[in-house]
Symmetry: D2
């Protein structure tokens, strides 16, 4: 068989583990050939091919990012792109394509499967919001990096009597903020799912600082104040999304003013999606890579491999498309209970 | 309410996160008092109490081990111990006891619940074999430590043209060996579930070393050769279990002899259960601690909190006692596919 | 003897190792008493005392920050502060004070020694610019954190075909930028000592990107363009120093415009001075703490303990005050040779 | 120019950083060619050449081990080897050879220089005993790994009321043991330089355990008991050196018997020399690599590059050959002061 492989959307740790597992499973187990496309759909559309073999993917399991490259490019946003993807599929005599991506990439894969191109999805996103799987590739590492940064600012806050505000990724949900905040024992965690009341938070921090010297406040990029409480019109970037650092700075400034404590902001940014993946992400990526090849061999199409209760299963993309995995209510409750 | 708390069995990273979460949930949410017992059942039997409060447990989430101490002590192995535990329960006017432990501790908790002492279990074990939960506290960190060690010996093997044999924990199962081995891209993984054929392995390594300079072979403590293939009578310690390092040395010596390559052994030992827990274990411990208090408040007894598909649930201890969670077949298959 | 102890200036990893070593050496070796002052000179002036003993400092060696607290406060910037420090010295019946700090704190200690208060200095600063010592407490950890962040953004740059600009600390020198940049194999390192030519850099990156997919550009906070090359008036904060992130954003925007590549900025900020110190910083802090007590016992005053060729020595503060340790020319040359 | 390059002796982290820096400096700065020999002197004698170029050494700075391979092989231990090295030098039309190694490799380089083959040495050894340099490549990482392991066993000791004995490398000196032990706050550090008195140590630990629950005892491989105190004849391996783990087990058993506490042994072994180097080792390796090429270009021969007070200098190999750098007395004193 000839199987295409691409990684789409934002990069994250663990993608190379998927790539290596796909190649080894296909080549060594079945004698199949993997055709890698550079930079996601773009490379498939344009016929930009990366040579992949057991030899060329050796040692990749511990390496961050994706040797295939990736791009935020969706076939249906480019006229002719779908036709070009079809054409590429035929020209490369493919039997199926394995697409590693977040909801955007997976949705595109689902549509292409519907019109006759067999696609198998592998969920990856540091935001952890792909529906139908307990966890996606990249999330565990992102949480580990964010928690490590929180551990670091904690000691500097304590030395200087400060409120340390740290903005982490999460435009639409609080998965990273909640997880890293709980892991680091943060004093407050502000997430998109629960609008924050800065007056109330300031009061709690003032109360806390009677006996403690510092507080760590984790803010997801998409957190927002309780309606009407603050006159805030967040600055937005070219794609309409809130500018990184904006909500962090809002929280910092408002807390500093209300509490009278020195408050400092750190915006974690790109470090959250880079570097050596945690063993957990390497294992997950390896299992998903093997399972994706098996799904192709079984003649599946339009399904995503997923982890459910530590078992790797297959889920129809149609069932998960357009849905986002919510943070479990118990996690929000745990965060509330373990913060100020 | 007055709630007892103890940690039993071998220590592991994440126990302190459980302790801190139990105390904060109980004290801050409900005004309950937590009575800590030192060194597991032993301390409960003997009335050895550790003061626990929100203040005394501050900062514990990132700290390895257990401030309560722990011991391998089972009430039913000591005459009068059960009576003493009963007596202790009454004397301390407890409403319930939260027991954090592996299968031994949980089984004891189940029996005590059956005879009228309300017990809530929290699963922890680096071996990951507690039934009924996707994962137990401590496992993620143990895998991370083992994978890190494998990464390290890999570069030294490559520099010196060697086979690096690393023995990791796992007397009864291959959870750590499989996980760490896959994460580190090891060349062979020997686990108790699949007897190893040292002749076959030696052949594969000889074949591999025609183009590579080194191999990493992960061996679980409880791995054993195919019946009849090697005249091996493993040395056993005072509790009848195989002496640490024994099977690792067997594999090392047999491979060295058969392949002619220099083969070196590293026995990871105690480092696998110590030190700062991974964020994943800190989060799991925190969720379980909160959930255990909630179970007490709901009047539950004889149940264990568990993670199933990223949800925290309650499982009757009676259902999981005496059963061991097996490694999923796909993981064994993935390991096979990604090794030589 | 009764010996005062304070930590001044910005916090950094390794201060607690100094504190622990001072206390143990004084108390266990000589039966001396250590009187800790909170938040540097401020606490000494105001008589804000922290209890320090072998017991209260147990376990501190691995902990970041300073349990004494610290503040950017200099006696000669506050009327009466010097008198209050004198008064505090007498009131606490001190024989000497050990001051852990950067050039500001050490200069103040020198002046006080000149007027009769015996002071012993211990050099600490993540900027590594204290003269007279090979290295100061905190620098090794800051470099390790910055290098780790560079490693992380490198993989994300490679996945996305980007220039990753990372701003690290260093208002007056390039110690952190050079060290972390060399350690991570960065493609360009911009430091205050060498004005950068953005046109030239853009050309080099365009050349590089013909065969590579990404570049990491490290920028020290105090780097500035070649005079006249860019109309740039850096935004300044309340103390007159350049606002964090300003030069990083300048470099990012100018490179993006000139190269046509996507360029992204990460500002490391506070994470660089927090968290668990590297073993190297823990050892250095321990040696300095012991040596400082020995200097007091030997009747020294107005000296700083220092590391010179792996030996701990004493250097008169008068000799180092007002001087800044420059980056060695070979390091600048090495950086040039190993970048684009 | 054509310059040979080899790495000899045991591998360690940072060798690849040296290799990359040598290649870049030579090729990009001077247009020189680097001829790499595989497995140290052996490869040079046998003409086993590894292709080295800026492209083939890309990304090496963060990778442990040596892509050249290394072996414990000395020309003067093999008849004809010196003649073969000469022949290889001529056949490859070399102007000089850069030899990265410990005292053995450096001594051989010195002898060859004496007889007319220009050799430049680069000091590397995790044992840190090369004379004439403040520090050698690999030592900082080895200490970091050992300290991390000590941190880990510390929490498990505390949870279980145990003495944790950890054997680290150091057959001839206590550099690693002292450094890692101080960094981790160990309770006792046994080194070859100071024979240990197990009766005295047992007494101190018994005293300590009245208020503490555990102790960490670091033992260098070459530590030995006070003469006459223990009837101990250490088991020796094929090269006459003490078998790894032997002294650790002696200390463990004797302490367990004398104190009555549970005592456990961990032998760190090979993990100490593998894996990603610390930033400090990557910087040192990079500086040494650049400096070695510069020394060749300057027509030097028979010198070693070295670090002295943060400056890279050149030292005649004749001056350092046969001498071993001792641990500084203050370090032994600091260790004594910070342990039980």
């Amino acid at each position: 068989m000839r199987i295409g492989l691409l990684t789409g959307g934002g990069d994250c740790p663990g993608l190379n583990a998927v790539i290596r597992a796909v190649v080894r499973r296909a080549e060594m187990e079945h004698g199949d050939t993997i055709v890698g496309f550079r930079d996601g759909w773009k490379g498939m559309a344009e016929g930009d091919i990366v040579d992949l073999s057991v030899d060329s993917t050796r040692g990749l399991v511990t390496r961050g990012g994706t040797v295939l490259g990736t791009a935020r490019y969706h076939p249906d946003e480019h006229s002719d792109a779908t036709a070009m993807v079809f054409e590429s599929f035929k020209r490369n005599r493919l039997d199926a394509v394995i697409c590693v991506g977040g909801d955007g990439t997976l949705a595109a894969a689902g549509k292409l499967s519907d019109v006759g191109l067999p696609m198998i999805g592998v969920p990856k996103t540091i935001d952890n919001d792909v529906f139908g799987t307990d966890v996606s590739v990249g999330f565990d590492t992102a949480v580990a990096i964010a928690a490590d940064a929180l551990d670091r600012v904690q000691t500097t806050g304590e030395s200087h009597n400060r409120i340390m505000v740290v903005e982490v990724m999460g435009r639409h949900n609080g998965w990273i903020a909640l997880s890293a905040g709980i892991a680091a024992g943060a004093e407050a965690i502000l997430i998109p799912e629960v609008p924050f009341d800065v007056d109330e938070l300031a009061k709690q921090l003032v109360h806390r600082h009677r006996r403690a010297r510092s507080s760590v406040v984790v803010v997801a990029e998409g957190a927002s104040p309780v309606a009407g409480s603050l006159a805030w019109s967040p600055p937005r970037g070219k794609f309409g999304s809130i500018v990184a650092g904006a909500v962090g700075e809002l929280v910092r400034a408002e807390l500093e003013q209300r509490t009278g404590f020195d408050a400092r902001l750190t915006v974690l940014g790109h470090v959250q999606r880079g570097g050596t993946p945690t063993p957990t992400d390497r294992i997950l990526g390896s299992r998903f890579g093997v399972a994706a090849v098996d799904a192709v061999r079984d003649g599946e199409a339009g399904v995503m491999v997923a982890l459910q209760s530590e078992q790797v299963v297959r889920v129809p993309i149609a069932e998960i498309s357009g849905r986002r995995k919510q943070v479990p209510p118990d996690l929000v409750d745990v965060a509330r209970s373990l913060t100020v």
